[in-house]
Amino acid sequence: MEKGARPNWDNPMQFLLACVSYAVGLGNVWRFPYLCQMHGGGGFLIPYLLMLVLEGVPLFYMELAIGQKMRLGSIGAWTAISPYLGGVGLASVVTSLYLCLYYNIINAWSFWYLFNSFQSVLPWAECPVNSNRTGFIEECEKATPTQYFFYRETLDISPSIEENGGIQTNQALCLVLAWVMSYLFVVRGVKSTGKVVYFTATFPYVVLFIYLIRGVTLHGAVNGIKYMFTPKMEELAKPTTWINAATQIFFSLGLGFGSLIAFASYNQYNNNFEHQAIIVSLINSGTSIFASIVTFAIYGFKATFNYEGCLERTRLLLLNTFSLAEDSVTMANVFEWIEKLNTTYPQQFAELADKLETCDLEVELDTAVEGTGLAFIVYSEAIKNMPLSQLWSVLYFFMLLLLGMGSMLGNITAIITPLQDFKMFSRMSTELFNGIVCLFCLLFALAFTTKAGNYWFTIFNDYGATFSLLFIALIEVISVSYIYGIKRFEKDIEDMLGHRPHWYWKIMWAVVSPLLIIAIFIFYIVNYIMGGTPTYQAWNKELGKTVVTEYPIFGQVFIGLLMVSSISCVPLTALYVYCRKRKHGHQRRQRTVSTVSAQ
């Protein structure tokens, strides 16, 4: 194989599956159902699908076109568009680096939960017994066994971000495994990635389908699904709904990271990326909707389970306090009995008042959770109550792992591809270079396995990529539409595909998408300023729940640095290129002057 030839995907299917594997990730499973629930169930689909058409597919198309045309990673591609814009590519690489650092921790947790599912009793099903065997550990009693398992046995979390603690060996081991596996998948570049994506793109759908069948047959699942599909149209009037829909489409498709440009750069010149862009975007959104049906079925099951547990506890309380015969109060007539006893024994009933819980199915269904809380706490709670819970647990965490690994492939490729375009790194063999990148990321990511690691993870998750991506995407779409020029871009696409893009695309690129992104950008800035000091959820051992805590000064400074470090690449690189051009310009003028004078 000649050294200079660019490696290629073995066939267009590999490229398609790589894009699907990258775009369909954890966000489809844990962010979209949350947004659906927050913004009125089925009604949320309207802004979501609208934003997909207005913003998602056009930007996706554009990134694929750039990558396939320039046949370089993000830095090289943007430098080719305009030398001053190389910083956009660099910003993408920096953002992808941050993402790589913290994303694999989630895969490490998935591994941990997966390995712990191979036990006769799931460790998060029951509280562990305390030292003198008279009861359960206090922290576990106050919280739930699933929360205890996540915060104490998995993370061993410290009470605040200031208290650092040491590296947790169990997490560190799982993280090493996650990185070693990522290295195995990218070791030969697209040659190895291309084979892996056949599995990582398709198997999650198998698991989701199995879970769909299992989910809808669970007791109480119908409550959840009904809740999801009853649209609350008044939510559509709120601007946050539309902003959240736009942001979700944006991040779900993985725009701005440079992964799409990197993947497309390995394509054949005449690959039909237009069809592929539409297909991948539709698959991504379809998966989100599919995953949220499954999630809502599980929610319904969990809510019904908790509600019936609450009823059972109330029933026992009534039986024991008023010494009634066992079969007189059943779950069906608990509320009637409460009324009856309230009237006949008001005084005794009043004494009960603080022990009596209010059981409400709506309230249970309303508890919306997103992110790691949904995936690792809520879902594992639902799973432990299913019959044959070990099997479902293994399937579920294996699916999470595949989704996460698939996205990691895109993230790592987004760093490797542009760096390998530089002469200095292209002389190294692919395997060695990829190994160095993976090792570097692993060593840094060990910081997330300390006791306060989860809090640092949250900082990266909330602030590492969101703001910079919007900025990058805005610069991207404006530079392609106005600096490179729509006419030139059109010609390039005609060159590759054989036909010009439809006028719809051109309007989106030139007008609609930039306006939309500017709107989201302004909203983000306003929200950040008005939000006051940024806060995080710290786990309180005594209370057994999370408390809202403000970030200390060094935390806030770090957040600022994170956001600025990637954005500043754009102006700094432009400045650097400008200075170099002036210097070169000077030197050339001097030389011409000397030759003229020599004549």
Binding site: F136, L177, L184, R188, N320
Partner: protein, 220 residues
């Protein structure tokens, strides 16, 4: 006469004893049974005979715990039965008419809890002694945590995969180097041969290999 006195004594002692047993007695415990919740369809009805069994089992527990003291069924005094199936009991010493201390009763009950449960086909959750916490099963501590075993398997497989890939890359590179060395030798030979051919034989119709091999050797 004597019989009358004895009868009166017995009556008074049982009355006295009954006085000891009150709900909330300082030396007594409340017991609660949830038979229907535990056994569902196979639940038995609570009646006098079951109560007798309870008293007998408790007497057995007290006897076994305190060797030498011969507790009788009559020493277990029960009162305040409710339809819930809950009641209070106190234990009277067999030798005197004093009540046995709360702690002694608790110790006996904890020691023989599973025998008492077994007599009624119930468990700690369904046969509750209010105030006596159940002794929970000791946690099973396996030598190696089970997750470590699965971790070892997966890690081993992945590392093996990487080593296989690395070795195959090295082998491929070596093979290519050998192949290139051979090609160079072949080229030299054919060049010499073609030169010879040109000088010694006709110059047309000679298949010149050196040009066809060119592509493989060209560095980009």
């Amino acid at each position: 006469m004597l019989e009358k006195v004895l009868f009166l004594l017995c009556l008074s002692s049982s009355v006295l004893a009954q006085q000891f047993c009150t709900p909330g007695a300082s030396e007594g415990y409340k017991v609660r049974l949830s038979i229907k919740s535990a056994l569902g369809d196979e639940a038995y009805a609570w009646n006098e005979n079951e109560m007798f069994l309870f008293r007998a089992t408790l007497a057995f527990a007290m006897r076994s715990q305190y060797n030498g003291k011969e507790f009788q069924v009559s020493d277990i005094i029960v009162c305040d039965e409710t339809p819930r199936v809950s009641f209070w009991f106190v234990v009277k010493s067999p030798t005197s008419s004093q009540l046995v201390d709360k702690e002694d009763v608790e110790r006996a009950v904890r020691q023989y809890r599973n025998r008492i449960n077994g007599a009624f086909l119930l468990t700690d959750t369904y046969l509750e002694f209010i105030g006596i916490p159940p002794t929970l099963a000791a946690p099973v501590n396996p030598g190696t945590p089970p997750w470590l075993i699965v971790f070892g398997v997966v890690m081993g497989a992945v590392v093996a995969g990487i080593i296989v890939l690395a070795v195959s890359t090295v082998v491929q590179k070596k093979r290519k180097k050998n192949q290139e060395a051979e090609d160079e030798e072949n080229e030299e030979e054919t060049r010499v041969k073609t030169v010879e051919n040109v000088t010694y034989e006709n110059t047309c119709g000679v298949y010149n290999k050196s040009f066809s091999d060119d592509e493989r050797l060209t560095r980009m």
